[in-house]
Symmetry: D3
Subunit: 178 residues, 6 copies
């Protein structure tokens, strides 16, 4: 996949297959959306190299949102552990599939499709745990990939894409850049 | 991939491996963005079942845009045949890669990443031909997947995602729905 | 993979992508080992067809064991949600890798290798959630696959394999058959 | 695939995803068959590493031939851009599928099968563009792989294979070596 | 791969996983080259559906030849069991790799490349057994795929490809058609 | 797969694609079970890197056993060359499939499942040759992976798994360690 070989079995130790990366709540105030995603990676969990999956801990502040995003290299099954989460994805026919998840309930986000998770509870945080079908799923958050990439996507492209004028492009970009 | 078997070799004829689907310019006035994409599919080209690739003809009107979109199941190499096309994609670190393509020049859109093609010439149409690494690449156009899916993504999600208010959500949605 | 096509998009509904299969504790007294594993499947979660992953809820009674087993088609990352679980796997050089997992801690079981989970707490049940890199991982429990398959593996094979005599084969088989 | 990792994202620049390799007609007089194939590669287009596809520009002189050949690692869809090209492939039941392609018409060469492209116009060059389902498709030209490999295939093998005598083997080899 | 599902486990019996297809010498006088290849298939060995490999028994008459051929979907490792076999393949740089195999010696034919096996002993038959990396490898025999496909490849293509005249094309074709 | 690139074509020689590793009987008295398996590997056969298959020579002493084992990365087709071999595998529904193989007869061991080969002849050695669907199949022998891994699996786990007491665990372990 990425040119990194498996662990050399002679150097592997049990700790290479264990991680406490998901053990503590993520900081949901680091971004304005109010969410945190912590993923197992080949760095924090060397033993999952070449294994083709990863796990993620998703914390969402009250009324917080994991904004519409896609994983170019993974499908995802998420299981709600705490709270009340509205989830949804849009397929390639532009149909949206949405559900409200309570603890223990699971939902599939098919590979590469735009999806979101919204904590509909304005008072309590929500928690979900996800399996992803790649050890390196990658993530593109739709509003930031379009409005605040570096360098920025040309205004003309965004104006025509969202059918807004240059001032609105600038306003959205500014808000998103915090 | 999709449960459709290969062609039964006893029923296959040369015409199953040939198509003129890409031979005529697409109608770029069918959508407000000013583009047309025609793809070889297992329907118009039955012989490409199980072959893992497809070809696309991309016509773009003067000043027209193939809006930011992603193919959940394919990477793409596009070759400009006519005109002057500004292309770009955003990677999972939110870096944008952009180029101006003149006839004969090619560009890679890595698998599953958001990309666009903009005809910078306001007088002449542009034409590109693309190879895609799946016989069924799928496409999600970012502005329509977010603002005009059916049923619609909840306003609250779009307000928080793009940091706009409900009126702006409604305005963008209306514009995009034409 | 298994000849089952994707969901027909025209018949898909949001409920095809949602399941509450993992929401309730499994019955750990159905077997003598004291464990229950509930998996998302193409039956209880039709939307995960072709997505290449599944999720499992693992309940283990106090002092209960998920006995040494392997998934022929999947690697696994397990995250402890409750309790104190001793986990381990053996690699193809016959080295064992083992860890004690407390809530929030995760462990990798590489593809196809024999592994176990043991609830070291003799008073409280344990709970883990796992992602698996196949929508149909399959499971072979080592003691039952060897001693209580139907029809049974020949005594001579088991005697020589485990270097025990026929009476011991019969005794182990009887115990395992309950 | 080949041990080359992806581009290091920190070193990638937009030019790594762009190439003008296909922009100019190839030199069809470099070989006696009268064709030129220029391919995007991981060298001239570093960004297509790991993307699983490539594009090719195929120029054929008047009455020129891309001789029967196969790509061991790729299927191909070719689109005629100029001229009048007779294409064909042979399947594993020894059935030949052939078509005449005019500009805009496309044809599939299934993975690994022997195929050819012949410019039936004795006055004008032909041009086609192809997508291939591998970033490193490889090519074996049947007459040169059999008659002019280095070292050569033993005469006895060629005599028996084509049911010709040693003089004919020598004559064909000499012609093909120019 | 080919739309055929796995065996329904409820209908599977041990005989679905066993075959004596390779137990008897093939008839090497059915073709003028003097060889016979018998392959395990999803028909004679239903249990190897979806398993991604097959086995072949290769019998070669004294001075017989398995003519240059390629498997579009498989690499092959062949092990000589009897006799004295000259084997070789040509790579995509037109280099030939050749060896003489005595009983117990093995040789690799990389995926999709043209290769041959020649029994250099003019008095005794030879026998080899091969593993192939597909349950449906497919075979294209170079001389027959080029000269005796149905319908035939156009004479003009063969004349230019092998640099021979129309009479030689006809002669080779006639010989190969027996 | 394992970070090792293909052979550099400029350094490859015919001997990289040939091996006599399988030419001589293995030493079946090196272990107490009475078997020997010799495999083609990327070390003894560098040319099979990236080719996705390997071959194995299986020698079994009279009354010897290849004990229940699984290959985490490969399915296998074995062909009996000499002797009288009882083979079997257990599927994920705990059904055993078993057959008696005489020379020329073949049997499939599906990917990752526990299987065994037992030489039922108490006087003559048996010989089989297998194809495996990976260049690095890996092997876990069930009794040794469970009872004699290093470090050992905890007694408590083995007692509960096989429903035996600590003395029996110690006795089996001692026998297996020879």
């Amino acid at each position: 996949m990425n040119g990194q070989p498996c662990l050399n079995p002679e150097l592997a130790s049990p700790t290479h297959f264990a991680t406490s990366a998901l053990s503590k709540p993520g900081n949901t105030s680091k971004n304005a959306f109010g969410f945190s995603v912590i993923l197992t990676t080949n760095q924090n969990l060397p033993g999952h190299r070449t294994q083709g999956l990863s796990m993620a801990r998703v914390d969402i502040a009250p009324d917080g949102l994991v904004p519409p995003h896609a994983h170019p290299r993974a499908s995802e099954v998420t299981t709600c552990l705490k709270g009340d989460i509205l989830v949804g994805f849009v397929d390639t026919s532009n149909t949206m599939y949405t559900q409200r998840l309570r603890p223990g309930e699971s939902f599939v986000f098919p590979k590469g499709l735009i999806h979101f998770l919204y904590n509909v509870d304005s008072k309590s945080p929500a928690l979900a745990i996800s399996g992803l079908s790649s050890e390196n799923p990658g993530t593109q958050v739709v509003p930031t990939a379009t409005f605040t990439s570096k360098p920025p996507m040309p205004d003309r492209v965004l104006e025509k894409a969202f059918m807004i004028d240059g001032q609105e492009v600038a306003r959205i970009r500014n808000h998103l850049q915090g």
